[in-house]
Amino acid sequence: MKAEEEQLVGRSPGQLMWIRFKRDRTGVISASVVIFFFLIGLLAPVVSWLYGKNPYTVYADERPELFDSAGVPVQPNGGISGEFWFGLEPGNGYDVFTKLLYGIRTSLGIAVAVTLATVLTGIILGVTAGYLGGKADYWISRVIDFLLAFPAQLFFIASMPVVVSLFVSPRDETPVYVRVVALILVMWFLGWMSLGRILRGTTLALREREFIEAAKVSGAPPGRIIRKEILPNVVTPILVQSTYMLPNFVTAEAGLSFLGVGIVEPTPDWGQMFSKASTELVMQNDITYMFFPGISMIIFVVAFNLLGDSVRDAFDPKTAR
């Protein structure tokens, strides 16, 4: 009988987390779903090039035989066919398949940008407040309190047109990038506070720990302490928080476009597809249309939230849910 050759291996917390995560089947499945969504978002131009259509063609004018005079597809189920896989949009007759691909691309792109911006702001302000304490902490905390008191949804709706009009000359159409930048700015402005607060609290607790004291005594400058001692210890809350924040931003962006203040036609957008689906024309004549943005968004949001849970479990297995 051979002696057991099992050795004790030294593993970093990251490796431990990865091992635990791989054992979590829900986590892995939702991670692949999320990756799939990001991939089709990234590859939307390639897919639609292969598919041979784009989301801007007004098929109701190009192929009038497929529509009645009100722009409702004549074929059942919104004109789903071998040529138009997901059918055609009632109204102007955009191709639903490419529109959804590009809509996912727009929405995810904006959500990722907002998440990055808010995480960065949250880290900078939260860790600064927590580490410096005193006056800086007081003022940053008051700013956070102040911004948290803002009614976010109302603020978005009211400020979007103002922000957009800051950038545009009166003779030109509002370019898409302006709307995108405005959306990112507006959501970033009111999106970073919760993460900032969590990081402030964590940093405040870490600051009093022995290893920080030791670093201070050995003469390490504050920048180095923050980068080398504090940041590695707040990675967990950052990762967990951002996996919760991203789907929130996706739905918030969709909400704004649904209300008509975000991305507008003809630029494809997830939320705008919802607002189209809720019109009386689509409700009465082509309910199938709702399935595509609806189901895809449910799958995405559920998968991303499950992923967030799994990430948290993997980092911190002791906490009971």
Partner: protein, 602 residues
């Protein structure tokens, strides 16, 4: 009247994604459009010009509606409460529509067919539609015998005089301005100087303008010929007001009526009850009937609400109707494809004509080839689609609509009827000839769901011809204010205009006379063409309405082929429904809605 762009729609909160997918598969769209025969009928029914009827045609009572029965109560669903009941303040369609039951004027439109398509102007309170011997400068009307107000007092020429004199008072500010302007012989609002306080301080119009030699005779005396007077007098705005019962501002809530029904109760914003007026004598009235005992009107019924209630057809909605609400765009194909609804559905034209204005004050737009390129490239299908398809909009050829005398259904200068999606190839060639390929075109669109939808597709069509379209949203509340500014940024924008009576004299002069260009005026395209201006003056003097109509149509053709300052998009139509117990349901082209006078309960 201009078509208001005001759409109030509440911002709906974000629906949970889940709620949206818990629904079944759809059966697919309605059957494709193109009903050739129907199109032709529609065109035919509009061909006949509206004539001025003689004394025989003006005699009451009105011809019986086939199968009509007396009695019963009709419940009426209305969207907006009536803001005005004083006839002089009435200038919007829904108030005009209910006024057919309440107010009478010197003249009126008599339906000469049972489908509401053919009309003639006849005397209503007057014995005929008016006589003139000098080409429309002097008009003589004689009042009928036995005409009374609801309080039983006789209607005399003094009441008619009072009716027109009070139009000059400052508190009358919502109604049509035509006859006041003609009497004062000035355009704009300067007419009030003729009689600043109206008749209320003892002053009256001189006999040289308005003469009432005896109790029965009224003479209008204008400085310039106004052959359209019988049409203008048929507007509710000029219906007769009781001199004795005039309470000035308060008259707006409780008028002394002359029609077959009187107001029993009016709760502004809630409801209104109309009951029979015993002092109305059918023998004097060639236009109206009094079949129903009561009309119960309830307000605040949106198009979706009234459509759903009348479709359900239960309880009081079985005898329900809406004078002015149309079937909403979303339910339109459902209503039209249901064979059971066929007998309960009527449809017809509204007076509005949609048109894309090309801003002639901009340097780039002064090139005729560019304007022609826009006219060829512009797809009108997006506009038709956005409002519910060919049942709601008919692709337009000219700017004279089917509801106006002189309409020529074969006129189609840019091939929109054959190629409603535009002709980008031809447009591209014209734009190349002009050397303006890639020209920037600022397109101001009304920020409503419909406006967003059609403007994106129109932009896509124009871009195929080589334009660089810049879409700009304009808030719906201020749309007409913005585009009627003389110095605006928009190269093209869409407006709609409706005739006040079936003559192009209420369309072409206000929209295309270069001399009326002013801040806030309706010459949206800012066109100033000397030939158009002189033709307007010439045709306005023609006394024969049929001949004038033909001349207006010629001018329409000149405008669209030689000037090209607008591109017509569509003639507005609407579909209305009623409960199953409603009889005599007819769409009247002049009222632009259900004819309330003919209704009875089956």
């Amino acid at each position: 009247m201009s078509k208001g762009g005001r759409h109030t729609y509440a911002a709906i909160s974000v629906l949970a994604a889940g709620a949206l997918v818990l629904t079944g598969c759809s059966e697919g769209g309605s059957k494709g459009g193109g009903d050739d025969k129907k199109q032709q009928e529609n065109a035919e029914r509009q061909q006949s010009a509206i004539k001025f009827g003689d004394a025989a045609a003006s005699k009451g009572p009105a011809a019986e509606v086939p199968g009509a029965k007396s009695g019963g109560t009709i419940s009426v669903l209305a969207r907006d409460s009536y803001a005005h009941l004083d006839p002089a303040q009435i200038y919007v369609q829904d108030e005009m529509s209910v006024s057919q039951l309440l107010h009478r004027g010197l003249t009126g439109y008599k339906a000469t067919s049972n489908d509401g398509s053919k009309h003639e102007v006849v005397g209503d309170l007057a014995t005929d539609s008016g006589t003139t011997t000098d080409g429309g400068k002097t008009w003589k009307f004689t009042l009928k015998d036995g005409i009374k107000f609801q309080d039983g007092s006789a209607i005399t020429s003094a009441d008619v005089r009072h009716t027109f004199e009070r139009q000059f008072a400052a508190f009358i500010n919502q109604g049509p301005p035509y006859i006041q302007q003609w009497l004062a012989d000035t355009p704009g609002t300067d007419y009030r100087k003729l009689l600043p306080d109206g008749p209320f301080k003892g002053k009256h119009l001189p006999d040289s303008t308005l003469e009432t030699p005896d109790e029965k005779t009224v003479l209008f005396k204008f400085k310039n010929p106004h052959p359209d007077l019988p049409y203008a007098l048929a507007m509710t705005g000029y219906a007769v007001v009781s001199q004795k019962g005039d309470t000035k501002e308060k008259y707006d809530k409780a008028p002394v009526v002359t029609g077959p029904y009187k107001i029993q109760e009016f709760k502004s914003g809630k409801s209104m009850v109309l009951v029979k007026n015993e002092n109305w004598d059918p023998a004097t009235d060639p236009l109206r009937h009094q079949y129903v005992d009561r009309f119960n009107i309830t307000f605040n019924q949106q198009y979706e609400d009234s459509t759903k209630a009348l479709l359900a057809d239960s309880g009081t909605d079985r005898t329900g109707v809406s004078f002015s609400n149309q079937v909403d765009a979303g339910n339109l194909s459902k209503v039209l494809n249901d064979p059971k609804m066929k007998s309960r559905t009527v449809s017809g034209f509204q007076p509005y004509v949609g048109q894309v204005n090309i801003n002639m004050s901009h340097a780039e737009m002064k090139d005729l080839k560019v304007r022609q390129a826009i006219a060829y490239a512009l797809p009108v299908t997006p506009f038709v689609r956005a409002y519910g398809g060919t049942d709601a909009m008919e692709v337009a050829g000219g700017i004279i609509s089917p509801t106006v005398s002189g309409y020529d259904p074969s006129f189609d200068p840019y091939g929109k009827k054959k190629k409603p999606a535009g002709d980008p190839a031809k447009a591209k060639k014209l734009l190349e000839e002009a050397g303006k390929t890639g020209l920037k075109l600022t397109f101001g669109y009304i920020n409503t769901p419909e406006g967003q939808q059609y403007s994106t597709a129109m932009a896509a069509g124009l871009e195929k011809a080589g334009f660089d379209v810049q879409r700009q949203e304009i808030p719906a509340e201020t749309f007409y204010d913005q585009v009627s500014k003389l110095d605006n940024n928009y190269d093209i924008f869409h407006t709609a205009w409706g005739a006040d009576w079936p003559s192009a004299s209420t369309v072409i002069p206000p929209l295309y006379d270069g001399r009326v260009i002013a801040e806030g005026a309706q010459n949206y395209s800012q066109v100033n063409d000397p030939k158009v201006n002189s033709e307007i003056d010439r045709i306005n003097k023609i006394t024969d309405p049929v001949k004038a109509a033909a001349e207006w149509e010629t001018l329409d053709k000149y405008l669209l082929t030689k000037v090209v300052n607008v591109v017509p998009t569509a003639y507005y139509k609407q579909v209305q429904i009623a409960g199953s117990k409603i009889g005599g349901l007819v769409y009247d082209d002049i009222i632009a809605g259900v004819d309330a006078r003919r209704l009875f309960v089956k």
